[in-house]
Symmetry: C3
Subunit: 256 residues, 3 copies
């Protein structure tokens, strides 16, 4: 049974999500459609990209991922298919697909029929049929020609020098834990053995390996299963208690 | 793999949705159950009908649609199966199934055992088994006799004359866009080429074809993929900025 | 197609839910994964247990149920598999699996590799692979040895004597109806034919059989499809109108 994942900001009270699924199932009723999330903040491409980037590699190679966010308007720049680490993504050419990995995608297809259709619901009318057909065995090349203007967005990167790393909160999760863009490999390479991590009014000089190695109410800092720095308060809502939000600065100073 | 869609106002924090799915899967573990929505406003049959009406035709012909809203109480009038445009609907006889199309359903079955069972959870106990069996190949007739008192509700229709159309907002979606009950075919037939569309304190005399042909912050008006008039604010929340809500009046005046 | 159910408090805006599903599908792409709920209140094991306890028996025997709540921290006590009424549960040994039935589970396995892995996302890294493999035919014993310290939590039980039952509200559902821990069999055994049920400032001396046998605005009390006492207000939000919340006391006095 072929897999398609589906990510959007369509919410769960409108007809948009089931209409897209119906369109795919009308092409192949055997599809197994897995929701990534449909409660992405409306129009928030960073949120959408973060969620998909954090999960797509867990799916079997060859999985088709349908991305339905910001698919209408002048910033859309058409609809495309890309291949990245043996996964296939179908979505708008608005930059979101450039945020899924550090490397550029290998295969890029500009879908051919976008000038023929004048749809106000292109996720259903243009992207869903292609996703369903590719998941059912069709080649992504069959749906268009080479893409020449792949739109790129820059994700907010941590800045690293020998003295410090300046990173940011990129997501506060349901539990109030703060996920950052500070990667373990970068930290490990620079860390001389002594460091200070500052966030809000807190400062710590050691890392934990999980959520509860500190007293309840104290802050924890560790590299999580995404291999990025995660910060929170044991048994508390870190975002609220630390006064931090998305984009808040996390500062690491190396040395004495 | 047989398809069943499932629509309810059960929310996503209670045991109601998984219990209904479990009941269907215990009859046929091969069923592919697709959620339409379970976050319909509690008891809101217009919302539920709008979502299902806007999406059921996209599913393959023969799909069984399970409708679990307002299934208990004196207004329920029993449980029925209807066939409409080669789709099969299983739900309460409270009028919701009359709101899915302008035409009357072709086949109507009053389920036989409703007087035998005294369930306080009929979506699970009465409707789910029938939906699962019909999706697995049983005939809807097998579960009851002819329905003689099909309950009808009137959906709010736009009023149209040669001079004007008076319609209403029937749904404000997640993005704040206003979906109305003014249909493109009605508008096209009456439109002499000159018109004025009034909503809230705004008035426009031309249509767009999509969301962003106007300046950011300006209102757009176009016939959307449902072929009904949609109104919003480019890059803004139309409902809030225009001060409109569900049932707000949209007035179209034809001529000079 | 093998069934796995999945219950968590991961919410619907993060990567946690799809990552766990992806991990299972990468082991067996044929799995049919059914969501119980992911919008359980964060860390609320009573809420989670109530929802799963109320629905697992409806699934086919042999179904594997993956439970991902409070899986990290000192209270976790490792990861286990248990067999209960021919259903298999995979989750943390934090007591939640003791809340699913009055009887102790029959087979208990302590998963072997938990000391080898140092994951901050054990639902994905430890539990999901085992759930997927067991659902695909592996034996739960293959993943560890006998469990000797099965953690038990006490669910709040109603207290019953010949004179009275003192119970509590254990869940207020989406409609504002109050589900209690007062069971029909206990009530029936003690009821001499005359009783008074008190909750908030209301008192009733008879039971209904459903939601709307009282006037709109009046309270109803009946034994619902879970065979527990349910209380609400016909056409109203019982929780709000009665001023009751989770853990509020329901008092039944028997006799004259």
């Amino acid at each position: 049974m072929a897999l398609v994942t589906f990510l959007s900001d369509f919410g769960d009270q409108d007809y948009y999500v089931p209409a897209v699924k119906a369109k795919m199932l009308s092409i192949n009723p055997q599809l197994n459609i897995i929701d990534i999330s449909h409660n992405i903040e409306a129009h928030d491409m960073e949120h959408a990209a973060f969620v998909l980037r954090s999960t797509f590699r867990e799916f079997p190679k060859g999985t088709v991922h349908l991305v339905g966010i910001n698919t209408v308007g002048v910033m859309t720049h058409g609809y495309i298919g890309v291949k990245l680490e043996e996964h296939i993504f179908v979505g708008p050419n608005n930059g979101i697909l450039s945020l899924l990995a550090d490397n550029d995608p290998g295969i890029l297809v500009q879908f051919a029929d976008i000038h023929l259709k004048n749809s106000t619901f292109p996720t259903r009318d243009i992207l869903a049929p292609i996703a369903a057909k590719v998941a059912s065995g069709a080649a992504i090349h069959d749906f268009g020609g080479p893409l020449t203007n792949f739109r790129k967005l820059m994700s907010r990167q941590a800045k690293a020098t020998r003295e410090h790393i300046i990173g940011h909160v990129i997501r506060i999760d349901r539990y109030g834990n703060l996920l950052t863009n500070i990667r373990r490999d970068v930290f490990d390479k620079l860390n001389p053995g002594k460091f200070k991590i500052q966030f809000g009014r807190e400062s710590v000089d050691r890392l934990q390996t999980g959520y509860d190695e500190v007293e309840a109410g104290d802050p924890f800092v560790f590299f999580n299963s995404l291999e990025v720095l995660e910060i929170g308060i044991n048994h508390g809502n870190g975002g609220k208690l630390l006064g931090l939000k998305q984009d808040s600065v996390i500062y690491i100073h190396f040395g004495g």
